[in-house]
């Protein structure tokens, strides 16, 4: 070996202290594991976010499945023509100013027996069998409360002799 090369080798080949590797291990112990760091990389975070979104969409799809309800059902109540016309007149300004709706209007949940009753009433109104009239006299407020006097008849008690003989 050339004297110069030997001199350089002597200068460079210095060993670290015996505790060096232990110190490095202690330092490494304070760090996150490599896989944790990999999991925190931007690509992994983006992938995890995408997977979360897909899972949320999947769960939302499951929740939208129809539920069987034997006792109640949704109905669209069809009103008589005069009522519909009046409702349209009242609601017209609201409809004009309201923002356009993208979703269908909410459905009203009504018990089945009430639905049958309302349908029956609707059929009767349409066929003219029944007519809706408003009795203003009956719906006017009561002016004076009149309470009829209560008559109490006196009690009649039979004498002991008439009730029988003690045995």
């Amino acid at each position: 070996m050339d004297p110069l090369e030997r001199q350089i080798a002597e200068a460079v080949n210095v060993d670290p202290s015996p505790e060096f590797v232990a110190r490095v291990r202690a330092r490494i112990a304070t760090e996150d594991t490599p896989a944790v760091r990999w999991r925190m990389s931007p690509f992994f975070v983006a992938g995890a976010a995408f997977a979360s979104i897909m899972a949320a969409v999947w769960v939302a799809t499951i929740d939208r499945a129809p539920v069987q309800t034997p006792m109640v059902a949704g109905v669209d109540i069809s009103l008589p023509a005069p009522v519909r016309a009046a409702a349209a007149t009242v609601a017209a300004p609201l409809v004009r100013t309201a923002p356009p709706r993208t979703e269908p209007p909410p459905r009203v949940i009504v018990p089945l027996d009430e639905i049958r009753g309302l349908r029956r009433l609707s059929d009767l109104l349409r066929s003219g069998t029944v007519a809706l009239t408003f009795d203003d006299a009956r719906s006017s407020p009561v002016k004076e409360i009149a309470v009829a006097p209560i008559d109490i008849a006196p009690l009649t008690v039979a004498s002991i002799a008439e009730q029988g003989v003690e045995q």
Partner: protein
């Protein structure tokens, strides 16, 4: 669903353990290399250990990309070299103190010690004047057990390039140090 999550979690834990085992192997086989690279720049044992330790910490953080042995060692040498240069640039005052200390030691020691100390100081000064490319090549080639192929692998250069750099470095050093011989 729970079974799938459990399997994923156990798989991730197993990957963590395997990476840590591999890193331990790399640490044991490369700790002296990192220290010597840092020492060749800093010439201060504690500083060199600090820098090498920082290099290993950074290597650990990026270890999922550095599992290949050759790649790991090449990355470690480059990182240690850069960190050591940064440390040295940021610590000029220490260098001034060391120079003063070396001068004091030289005047208070015997003739043989003065001679070897002076030679070593002159050698390091000559190495410091080399361009970075030549300097790291001569340092790596002087480390025990390193042949041309190993240096080429660490520097990720062709062997011919390493050979020519070593030739240039030695020629310049001889020119600078011929007055000592």
């Amino acid at each position: 669903m729970h079974e799938l999550v459990d399997r994923l979690a156990s798989g991730v834990v197993e990957v963590d353990r395997e990476l840590e085992r591999e890193f331990e192997v790399r640490l044991v086989e490369s700790s002296t290399l990192a220290f010597r690279v840092a020492f060749s720049v800093l010439r201060h044992r504690e500083d060199a250990e600090d820098v090498a330790q920082e290099s290993f910490a950074r290597a650990f953080r990026a270890f999922h990309q550095l599992r290949d042995r050759e790649r790991f060692r090449a990355w470690l040498v480059r990182m240690t070299w850069r960190l050591a240069l940064d440390r040295r640039r940021g610590d000029r005052r220490r260098e001034a103190r060391e120079t003063a200390h070396a001068a004091t030691a030289a005047t208070s020691a015997g003739p043989h010690t003065v001679d070897s100390s002076y030679r070593a100081h002159a050698l390091w000064r000559a190495i410091d004047t080399l361009p970075d490319k030549l300097r790291i090549a001569i340092v790596l080639a002087s480390i025990e057990g390193h042949d041309l192929a190993e240096v080429a692998s660490l520097l990720r250069l062709p062997i011919g390039t390493v050979k020519s750099r070593l030739f240039l470095a030695r020629r310049r050093l001889k020119e600078q140090l011929q007055w000592i011989r």
